[in-house]
Subunit: 139 residues, 2 copies
Protein backbone atom coordinates (compact mmCIF):
# COMPACT_ATOMS: atom_id res chain seq x y z
CA UNK A 1 0.00 0.00 0.00
CA UNK A 2 1.01 3.61 -0.51
CA UNK A 3 1.14 6.07 2.35
CA UNK A 4 -1.55 8.76 2.30
CA UNK A 5 -0.26 12.07 0.89
CA UNK A 6 -0.98 13.85 4.21
CA UNK A 7 1.18 11.34 6.10
CA UNK A 8 4.01 11.78 3.60
CA UNK A 9 3.92 15.57 4.16
CA UNK A 10 4.02 15.06 7.94
CA UNK A 11 6.99 12.70 7.64
CA UNK A 12 8.83 15.14 5.37
CA UNK A 13 8.30 17.87 7.98
CA UNK A 14 9.12 15.89 11.11
CA UNK A 15 11.30 12.86 10.39
CA UNK A 16 14.79 13.85 11.57
CA UNK A 17 16.92 11.54 9.41
CA UNK A 18 17.04 10.29 5.83
CA UNK A 19 19.51 8.11 3.95
CA UNK A 20 21.18 9.65 0.93
CA UNK A 21 22.53 7.46 -1.86
CA UNK A 22 24.76 8.84 -4.58
CA UNK A 23 26.79 7.07 -7.25
CA UNK A 24 30.55 7.29 -7.70
CA UNK A 25 33.07 6.03 -10.18
CA UNK A 26 32.43 2.70 -11.85
CA UNK A 27 28.79 2.79 -10.75
CA UNK A 28 29.52 2.24 -7.07
CA UNK A 29 26.80 3.47 -4.70
CA UNK A 30 27.57 5.51 -1.59
CA UNK A 31 25.22 6.06 1.36
CA UNK A 32 25.17 8.36 4.35
CA UNK A 33 22.53 9.44 6.90
CA UNK A 34 21.60 13.10 6.58
CA UNK A 35 19.55 15.70 8.41
CA UNK A 36 17.34 17.80 6.18
CA UNK A 37 14.66 20.45 5.91
CA UNK A 38 11.80 20.17 3.42
CA UNK A 39 10.91 23.54 1.99
CA UNK A 40 8.64 24.36 -0.95
CA UNK A 41 9.10 20.96 -2.55
CA UNK A 42 12.88 20.79 -2.12
CA UNK A 43 15.04 18.95 0.42
CA UNK A 44 17.96 20.90 1.89
CA UNK A 45 20.78 19.21 3.75
CA UNK A 46 23.80 20.90 5.33
CA UNK A 47 27.09 19.36 4.36
CA UNK A 48 29.46 20.99 6.76
CA UNK A 49 29.49 24.34 8.46
CA UNK A 50 33.19 24.22 9.11
CA UNK A 51 35.82 25.37 6.65
CA UNK A 52 36.82 22.77 4.10
CA UNK A 53 39.38 20.32 5.37
CA UNK A 54 40.78 19.97 1.88
CA UNK A 55 39.16 16.72 0.84
CA UNK A 56 35.69 16.94 -0.56
CA UNK A 57 33.02 14.74 1.00
CA UNK A 58 32.10 11.74 -1.16
CA UNK A 59 28.46 12.80 -1.49
CA UNK A 60 29.55 16.21 -2.81
CA UNK A 61 32.17 14.73 -5.14
CA UNK A 62 29.66 12.20 -6.50
CA UNK A 63 26.85 14.72 -7.06
CA UNK A 64 29.13 17.08 -8.97
CA UNK A 65 29.79 14.29 -11.51
CA UNK A 66 26.36 12.57 -11.40
CA UNK A 67 23.38 14.46 -9.96
CA UNK A 68 21.13 11.38 -9.68
CA UNK A 69 20.46 10.52 -6.05
CA UNK A 70 17.99 8.70 -3.87
CA UNK A 71 16.67 9.63 -0.45
CA UNK A 72 15.15 6.97 1.79
CA UNK A 73 13.01 7.68 4.86
CA UNK A 74 12.09 4.81 7.15
CA UNK A 75 11.33 4.00 10.75
CA UNK A 76 11.72 0.41 11.88
CA UNK A 77 9.09 -1.18 14.07
CA UNK A 78 9.07 -4.65 15.55
CA UNK A 79 5.39 -4.77 14.63
CA UNK A 80 5.80 -5.36 10.92
CA UNK A 81 2.22 -4.24 10.25
CA UNK A 82 3.44 -0.72 11.16
CA UNK A 83 6.38 -0.62 8.75
CA UNK A 84 6.60 2.09 6.11
CA UNK A 85 9.17 3.70 3.89
CA UNK A 86 9.35 6.56 1.42
CA UNK A 87 11.87 6.75 -1.39
CA UNK A 88 12.56 9.95 -3.29
CA UNK A 89 14.44 9.71 -6.56
CA UNK A 90 15.78 12.98 -7.83
CA UNK A 91 18.69 15.21 -8.61
CA UNK A 92 21.04 16.78 -6.12
CA UNK A 93 23.13 19.89 -6.44
CA UNK A 94 25.73 21.50 -4.25
CA UNK A 95 25.07 25.12 -3.28
CA UNK A 96 27.30 27.63 -1.60
CA UNK A 97 26.54 30.02 -0.03
CA UNK A 98 23.75 28.16 1.76
CA UNK A 99 20.13 29.16 1.28
CA UNK A 100 19.12 31.42 4.20
CA UNK A 101 15.54 30.06 4.37
CA UNK A 102 16.92 26.53 4.50
CA UNK A 103 19.22 27.47 7.39
CA UNK A 104 16.23 28.90 9.30
CA UNK A 105 14.18 25.79 8.59
CA UNK A 106 17.00 23.51 9.77
CA UNK A 107 17.48 25.53 12.97
CA UNK A 108 13.76 25.35 13.64
CA UNK A 109 13.55 21.60 12.99
CA UNK A 110 16.69 20.67 14.96
CA UNK A 111 17.03 22.27 18.40
CA UNK A 112 20.50 20.68 18.43
CA UNK A 113 21.69 23.48 16.15
CA UNK A 114 21.23 25.91 19.03
CA UNK A 115 24.15 24.21 20.78
CA UNK A 116 26.07 23.26 17.62
CA UNK A 117 25.83 26.48 15.60
CA UNK A 118 27.69 25.22 12.53
CA UNK A 119 25.17 26.56 10.03
CA UNK A 120 26.24 29.81 8.43
CA UNK A 121 25.52 31.35 5.08
CA UNK A 122 28.99 30.38 3.93
CA UNK A 123 28.14 26.73 4.60
CA UNK A 124 27.83 24.27 1.75
CA UNK A 125 24.40 22.72 1.34
CA UNK A 126 22.87 20.01 -0.80
CA UNK A 127 19.64 20.86 -2.56
CA UNK A 128 17.60 17.87 -3.68
CA UNK A 129 14.92 18.18 -6.33
CA UNK A 130 12.56 15.17 -6.28
CA UNK A 131 11.54 13.71 -9.62
CA UNK A 132 9.66 10.70 -8.23
CA UNK A 133 8.33 9.78 -4.78
CA UNK A 134 7.44 6.18 -3.97
CA UNK A 135 5.99 5.05 -0.66
CA UNK A 136 5.06 1.75 0.91
CA UNK A 137 3.29 0.77 4.10
CA UNK A 138 2.24 -2.63 5.34
CA UNK A 139 -1.33 -1.51 5.95
CA UNK B 1 35.53 8.35 15.52
CA UNK B 2 35.23 4.74 14.44
CA UNK B 3 33.01 2.30 16.30
CA UNK B 4 34.88 -0.40 18.24
CA UNK B 5 35.02 -3.71 16.36
CA UNK B 6 33.08 -5.48 19.15
CA UNK B 7 30.23 -2.97 18.83
CA UNK B 8 30.14 -3.43 15.06
CA UNK B 9 29.79 -7.21 15.50
CA UNK B 10 26.95 -6.69 18.00
CA UNK B 11 25.16 -4.33 15.62
CA UNK B 12 25.57 -6.79 12.72
CA UNK B 13 24.02 -9.50 14.89
CA UNK B 14 21.16 -7.50 16.41
CA UNK B 15 20.21 -4.48 14.31
CA UNK B 16 16.97 -5.48 12.55
CA UNK B 17 17.11 -3.18 9.53
CA UNK B 18 19.67 -1.94 7.00
CA UNK B 19 19.40 0.24 3.91
CA UNK B 20 20.47 -1.31 0.63
CA UNK B 21 21.60 0.87 -2.25
CA UNK B 22 22.08 -0.52 -5.74
CA UNK B 23 22.66 1.24 -9.04
CA UNK B 24 20.45 1.01 -12.11
CA UNK B 25 20.56 2.26 -15.66
CA UNK B 26 22.24 5.61 -16.31
CA UNK B 27 23.89 5.52 -12.89
CA UNK B 28 20.70 6.08 -10.93
CA UNK B 29 20.78 4.85 -7.34
CA UNK B 30 17.97 2.82 -5.77
CA UNK B 31 17.42 2.27 -2.05
CA UNK B 32 15.25 0.00 0.02
CA UNK B 33 15.16 -1.08 3.68
CA UNK B 34 16.02 -4.75 4.17
CA UNK B 35 16.06 -7.33 6.91
CA UNK B 36 19.20 -9.44 7.02
CA UNK B 37 21.21 -12.09 8.82
CA UNK B 38 24.97 -11.82 9.23
CA UNK B 39 26.62 -15.21 8.92
CA UNK B 40 30.33 -16.00 8.59
CA UNK B 41 31.19 -12.62 7.18
CA UNK B 42 28.31 -12.44 4.68
CA UNK B 43 24.98 -10.61 4.82
CA UNK B 44 21.92 -12.55 3.67
CA UNK B 45 18.64 -10.85 2.87
CA UNK B 46 15.43 -12.54 1.73
CA UNK B 47 13.91 -10.99 -1.36
CA UNK B 48 10.50 -12.57 -1.45
CA UNK B 49 9.21 -15.92 -0.30
CA UNK B 50 6.21 -15.79 -2.56
CA UNK B 51 6.20 -16.94 -6.18
CA UNK B 52 7.41 -14.36 -8.64
CA UNK B 53 4.76 -11.89 -9.65
CA UNK B 54 6.36 -11.57 -13.05
CA UNK B 55 8.29 -8.36 -12.59
CA UNK B 56 11.69 -8.62 -11.00
CA UNK B 57 12.36 -6.39 -8.00
CA UNK B 58 14.58 -3.42 -8.80
CA UNK B 59 17.30 -4.47 -6.34
CA UNK B 60 17.52 -7.89 -8.03
CA UNK B 61 17.45 -6.42 -11.53
CA UNK B 62 20.16 -3.89 -10.63
CA UNK B 63 22.47 -6.41 -8.95
CA UNK B 64 22.33 -8.78 -11.92
CA UNK B 65 23.74 -5.98 -14.11
CA UNK B 66 26.00 -4.27 -11.54
CA UNK B 67 26.97 -6.15 -8.36
CA UNK B 68 28.29 -3.08 -6.54
CA UNK B 69 26.09 -2.20 -3.59
CA UNK B 70 26.16 -0.36 -0.29
CA UNK B 71 24.54 -1.28 3.00
CA UNK B 72 23.93 1.38 5.64
CA UNK B 73 23.13 0.68 9.29
CA UNK B 74 22.08 3.56 11.52
CA UNK B 75 19.94 4.38 14.52
CA UNK B 76 18.85 7.96 14.96
CA UNK B 77 19.02 9.56 18.39
CA UNK B 78 17.94 13.04 19.42
CA UNK B 79 21.12 13.17 21.47
CA UNK B 80 23.58 13.74 18.65
CA UNK B 81 26.49 12.63 20.82
CA UNK B 82 25.01 9.12 20.56
CA UNK B 83 24.77 9.00 16.78
CA UNK B 84 26.55 6.27 14.82
CA UNK B 85 26.45 4.66 11.43
CA UNK B 86 28.13 1.79 9.64
CA UNK B 87 28.49 1.58 5.88
CA UNK B 88 29.40 -1.62 4.10
CA UNK B 89 30.54 -1.39 0.50
CA UNK B 90 30.56 -4.65 -1.35
CA UNK B 91 29.15 -6.90 -4.00
CA UNK B 92 25.72 -8.45 -4.03
CA UNK B 93 24.54 -11.56 -5.78
CA UNK B 94 21.14 -13.17 -6.20
CA UNK B 95 20.89 -16.78 -5.05
CA UNK B 96 18.13 -19.30 -5.54
CA UNK B 97 17.48 -21.68 -3.91
CA UNK B 98 18.06 -19.81 -0.67
CA UNK B 99 20.88 -20.81 1.67
CA UNK B 100 19.40 -23.04 4.41
CA UNK B 101 21.71 -21.72 7.14
CA UNK B 102 20.69 -18.16 6.22
CA UNK B 103 17.00 -19.10 6.49
CA UNK B 104 17.62 -20.53 9.98
CA UNK B 105 19.55 -17.42 11.01
CA UNK B 106 16.77 -15.14 9.74
CA UNK B 107 14.09 -17.15 11.55
CA UNK B 108 16.11 -16.98 14.74
CA UNK B 109 16.75 -13.23 14.44
CA UNK B 110 13.18 -12.28 13.46
CA UNK B 111 10.41 -13.88 15.56
CA UNK B 112 8.04 -12.27 13.03
CA UNK B 113 8.90 -15.09 10.61
CA UNK B 114 7.07 -17.51 12.92
CA UNK B 115 3.83 -15.81 11.95
CA UNK B 116 4.85 -14.87 8.42
CA UNK B 117 6.49 -18.07 7.20
CA UNK B 118 7.48 -16.83 3.77
CA UNK B 119 11.01 -18.18 3.90
CA UNK B 120 11.45 -21.44 2.04
CA UNK B 121 14.41 -22.99 0.30
CA UNK B 122 12.89 -22.02 -3.02
CA UNK B 123 12.99 -18.35 -1.96
CA UNK B 124 15.31 -15.92 -3.66
CA UNK B 125 17.94 -14.38 -1.43
CA UNK B 126 20.56 -11.67 -1.76
CA UNK B 127 24.05 -12.53 -0.59
CA UNK B 128 26.25 -9.55 0.16
CA UNK B 129 30.03 -9.86 0.32
CA UNK B 130 31.61 -6.85 2.07
CA UNK B 131 34.74 -5.40 0.56
CA UNK B 132 35.00 -2.38 2.88
CA UNK B 133 33.38 -1.45 6.20
CA UNK B 134 33.40 2.16 7.38
CA UNK B 135 31.96 3.29 10.69
CA UNK B 136 31.44 6.59 12.43
CA UNK B 137 30.30 7.60 15.90
CA UNK B 138 30.08 11.01 17.49
CA UNK B 139 32.09 9.87 20.53
Amino acid sequence: MKLPESRIRTIFARRPVAYLATVGAEGRPHQVPIVFAYLNGLFWSPVDGKPKSGTELTRVHNLRANPWMSLLLEEYDEDWSRLWWIRIDGEGSVTQPANADAISALEEKYPQYQEIPVLTESSTMLCITPTKTVSWCAR
